[in-house]
């Protein structure tokens, strides 16, 4: 004990006995401590991964090639024009090695094939994260120095949207999210500026409330405000979670504030009763109302299109006289409506409205008991309407559409995490925040105004993807790198035909010169495509071109004079500059050529697998029926079409068979000979 203490004290004396000795010893310690830093440097993470990679490839058959591709040390992709300094490839060494297909451990997995290379854009532009970092933690996570962590793979399509404004085939989620942004009314309250300076426009058309009292009752408005989805499961209006008193006051204000529609809305004579109870249903079917309107069937499934509102409980909502006036001419009540103006007779109107008004749901209004509105309630209702920004979507008498009602979302995808207020237990990252905000806006505070939507998880992911694509980079990208969207066309045909096109709301389904919907065929070159006689007959009584489709062209009951105007316009104006419609005769081909065409049709090209010519034998339901194609299409169109379908209609699924001129001409001769059985086929 004593001796060991002596030894220790002797040691102390030796080392620190006088200042010079102590200086020597401490200097050694200092040098040692200074040597730790380079040592730490030597054992850095990226060196570890590169060594691991070398071990991984050593035993492989292609080791020599892989070893030759491998470059040690810190690697970087430096792209000054987009501000990328990406050192990801320091650890992700096997990104470009196609032969590493079997390696599933990161960071050595190869990158799936994409249209771009890392040398073009680096990694961070799509994946986010901190490109300059050379440690796992700093590169992938959100730190104080870098707020954008790696983007979860399920939102990766948002990165494409930074440059690509036009829809891409490979980004269904992004496309759907963008459509949802435009369709769900988001952009009515939230401004989203696109890089070209324009603001994103809504494609939905929230109804005007200028004349709401003509259309419906205060009770229904109350029930609707309380829960729009109780009236129609597909209702687009979100739930504002209003208190009873607030819904009462808003409904009072809307009714009191509504101005009566000017003009004559004379009701149909009461005596016109439906001749038989099924007439309404069959008129509804014949008019193809279901192409746009849906109805919930007994099983709870919503059947029908989504262009117009769901009609399941329409009878509980509208006033009968309003519905009759609407069916007679929707444009009288709402000029920009997408609903076509059917030329129904009074008899038909009575039948159809009678059928629709029977679609009621007594439960909906069973519990609504509203006393007459007081002036205070109306005044309070007006305050609420202003507070909730109702005028952002709806036209309301005396209330202007508010500017910047909700936060602008132009750069939401780059919003710093420090500026977000997270709920307890939430992951602190931007995608989760956006998704949570869309899923349940009011969970961030009951005083918030944003209403509750009924999006599915897939829709929320799509919306989040679209929003995440709105980054600083989206706004600042060099013009050379942006892929602009096709600008929305405001094409409006002139003259009498133009009025007809508006009146019949052709653009709701058809696209012409870049404007219009995609439910029905593009009519831009319809004049080159069809024969005048067929078009006249078709407009008079549209038959089925494609038996497999449920949504079809409705019958508008046009007068012959209107049809002539229309047909002349289409035949004259909607012609392709690519070829002359009349360059080939519509008939009179030599029978040998017709027979040769038939052979080609059935054997060489096997067209019958998609098209029907002989209704008894052929089973092709993918393309249009060709039984009478000779009287429908011009020979020139058929010839050009077979030569190169995509040139006439980009994106058509008809394959390009690279036919020789002779084959195409023979097939044209055959098809032109298919005039149908004398008259057009019987209506289906």
């Amino acid at each position: 004990m004593q001796s060991s203490r002596n030894k220790l004290s002797a040691l102390w004396q030796t080392l620190f006995g006088d200042p010079i000795r102590a200086f020597g010893v401490v200097s050694l310690l200092l040098l040692l401590s200074l040597a730790i830093a380079p040592a730490k440097n030597h054992f850095s993470e990226w060196r570890h991964y590169q060594n691991q990679y070398l071990t991984l490839i050593r035993g492989r058959g292609d080791a020599v090639t892989l070893r030759r591709h491998f470059q040690g040390g810190i690697q970087q992709i430096w792209l000054p024009e987009i501000g990328a300094v990406d050192r990801c490839t320091t650890c992700h060494v096997g990104l470009k090695e196609a032969s590493l297909v079997d390696v599933s451990t990161q960071p050595f997995r190869r990158h799936p094939a994409i249209p771009h290379t890392a040398e073009q854009f680096g990694c961070v532009m799509c994946h986010r994260g901190q490109g300059a970092a050379t440690t796992v933690e700093e590169a992938h996570s959100s730190t104080l120095a870098w707020e954008q962590p790696i983007l979860p793979a399920r939102y990766i399509e948002s990165s494409c949207g930074q440059c690509h404004r036009a829809p891409l085939e490979g980004t269904p989620q992004l496309n759907s999210g963008r459509n949802l942004l435009a369709q769900s009314g988001c952009v009515h309250c939230h401004t989203i500026k696109l890089p070209d300076g324009s603001a994103m426009k809504g494609t939905d058309d929230p109804p005007s409330l200028l004349h709401i009292a003509d259309k419906t009752t205060r009770d229904w408005i109350y029930a609707w405000l309380k829960d729009p989805q109780a009236y129609a499961v597909t209702a687009k209006m979100p739930n504002f979670k209003l208190r009873d008193a607030d819904a009462r006051d808003i409904s009072a204000f809307l009714i009191a504030n509504s101005s009566p529609l000017p003009g004559d809305a004379s009701p149909v004579a009461a005596g016109q009763k439906a001749p038989d109870p099924t007439a309404g249903a069959s008129l509804y079917g014949e008019s193809f109302c279901a192409s746009c309107h849906a109805v919930q069937n007994a099983a709870g499934n919503v059947v029908g299109g989504n262009l117009g509102p769901e009609l399941t409980r329409i009878g509980t909502k509208v006033k009968p006289e309003w519905l009759q006036a609407w069916v007679r001419n929707p444009r009288a009540y709402d000029p920009p409506t997408e609903m076509p103006h059917y030329r129904f007779s009074d008899q038909q109107i009575a039948v159809l409205t009678g059928f629709l008004l029977n679609k009621t749901d007594a439960d909906l209004l069973a519990n609504v008991h509203l006393d007459p509105a007081t002036p205070e309630q109306i005044a309070h209702g007006k305050t609420l309407v202003t507070e909730y920004g109702c005028a952002s979507c709806h036209q309301i008498v005396g209330i202007k559409k508010p500017e910047n009602f909700a936060p602008e979302l132009t750069r939401i995808g780059s919003k710093p995490v420090t500026q977000l207020v997270f709920l307890p237990g939430m992951a602190h990252n931007l995608p989760d925040y956006i998704a949570a905000k869309i899923r349940q806006p009011r969970s961030f505070g009951s005083a918030l105004k944003m209403p509750q939507y009924t999006f599915t998880t897939a829709q929320i992911d799509a919306l989040a993807t679209a929003l995440l694509s709105l980054t600083d980079r989206t706004q600042n990208l060099p013009a050379a790198l942006t892929v602009p969207s096709v600008p929305a066309s405001d094409y409006q045909p002139a003259g009498k035909a133009g009025q007809l096109i508006t009146d019949l709301a052709c653009f709701s389904c058809h696209r012409i010169n870049g404007r219009g919907g995609d439910m029905a065929p593009d009519l831009t070159w319809e004049g080159s495509s069809v024969q005048r006689q067929w078009l006249f007959e078709f407009l008079k009584n549209p038959n089925t071109l494609r038996p497999a489709l449920i949504r079809r062209m409705p019958k508008f009951n046009l007068s012959d004079a209107d049809i002539n105007v229309f047909t002349d316009y289409i035949m004259t104006v909607y012609q392709t500059p690519a070829f002359d419609r009349d360059s080939m005769p519509s008939g009179g081909y030599p029978p040998a050529q017709v027979e040769q065409g038939k052979q080609l049709f059935y054997s060489k090209y096997a067209c019958q697998s998609c098209h029907i010519v002989d209704t008894k034998m052929d089973k092709g339901y993918i393309g249009p029926t060709l039984t009478q194609v000779g009287s429908r299409l011009t020979a020139a169109w058929m010839y050009q079409w077979m030569k190169n379908p995509q040139a006439l209609r980009p994106g058509t699924i008809e394959p390009n068979r690279n036919m020789s001129d002779d084959d195409a001409r023979a097939l044209t001769a055959y098809l032109a000979s298919l005039k149908g059985s004398g008259k057009r086929e019987a209506k289906q």
Binding site: T14, R21, G24, A37, P38, K40, N41, I74, V85, R87, A132, A133, T134, T135, E138, A145
Partner: protein, 266 residues
């Protein structure tokens, strides 16, 4: 073994090369040791002898020495950092990132610089309070105390100007907050603010200005004042010790027999 090393050093100090550099010569006589101090351009700032009392840790806590130590660390690491740094926007930030991720031991250098800077500010304050509580500002050391206050301000300015250089959010807003205080100066506020930043906002001009201040003007000024500070310690009679003051000694001294001859020593 210790003896061997000592002999080795003695031999080395006897060589011609060594003697040409250090003129003090070998040996441990008082003369040689005094010469070691007096004949060195840096060390001659200090006195050749120090009261033994002042060696103890409790006397000074070595705070002044340690402050000098942080200053030396800061100068050496700062010079290394300058090799990698461009005072331009936004390259400054990218350089800071590169120090962290690419430069060998770059992060360590920056850490050492940063933490030493904090340590220096802390030690300067501590040194000041220790000097005050020891009463070491008393005459004839008044002016050295004033130099100390100047050095305190230079230290704060050094740290403040260095704070901006990484050009991150922390730096930017700290300097913005700090520089806005200058606006409150009566009458000249905005001019002072403009002069300080080279503009109305913290921007590339401010970065360059702070860089020049941080790397040239302030360190050189600090070195000059540190030299004066040390030199004045010697000139003002060494480190202050209350027990060694004439008055304290006088109070303790015993009266001498009358008529004795006193020898003045001053």
């Amino acid at each position: 073994m210790a003896k061997t090393i000592e002999n080795y050093f003695d031999q080395m100090r006897g060589t011609r090369v060594w003697r040409s550099v250090f003129r003090g010569g070998t040996g441990s006589s008082t003369l040689r040791r005094s010469l070691a101090i007096q004949q060195n351009v840096f060390l001659h700032l200090f006195s050749t002898k120090v009261r033994r009392r002042m060696l103890s840790f409790s006397a000074t806590w070595y705070l002044g020495t340690l402050t000098l130590g942080t200053f030396l660390i800061l100068v050496s690491t700062g010079i290394f950092l300058m090799l990698y740094y461009h005072p331009s926007v936004p390259q400054a930030y990218a350089d800071t990132k590169d120090l962290q991720f690419v430069v060998s031991s770059g992060l360590f250098l920056r850490n050492l610089h940063r933490w030493s800077a904090h340590a220096m500010v802390f030690l300067v304050f501590a040194h000041m309070f220790k000097v005050f509580y020891r009463g070491a500002y008393r005459p004839p050391r008044e002016f050295n105390w004033v130099i100390g206050v100047i050095l305190l301000l230079i230290t704060l300015l050094l740290s403040y100007t260095g704070y901006l250089l990484p050009w991150d959010q922390l730096a930017y807003w700290a300097i913005t907050v700090g520089s806005n205080i200058a606006k409150a100066v009566p009458v000249l506020g905005n001019n002072v603010h403009f002069l300080m930043l080279g503009g109305n906002l913290v921007n590339a001009n401010a970065l360059l200005r702070f860089y020049v201040l941080h790397c040239m003007i302030l360190p050189l000024t600090a070195i000059v004042f540190i030299a004066i500070h040390f030199w004045r310690i010697r000139k003002d009679g060494g480190l202050y010790s209350h027990q060694s003051e004439p008055k304290t000694l006088a109070a303790k001294a015993v009266p001498a027999p009358a008529g004795a001859v006193a020898k003045g020593a001053q």
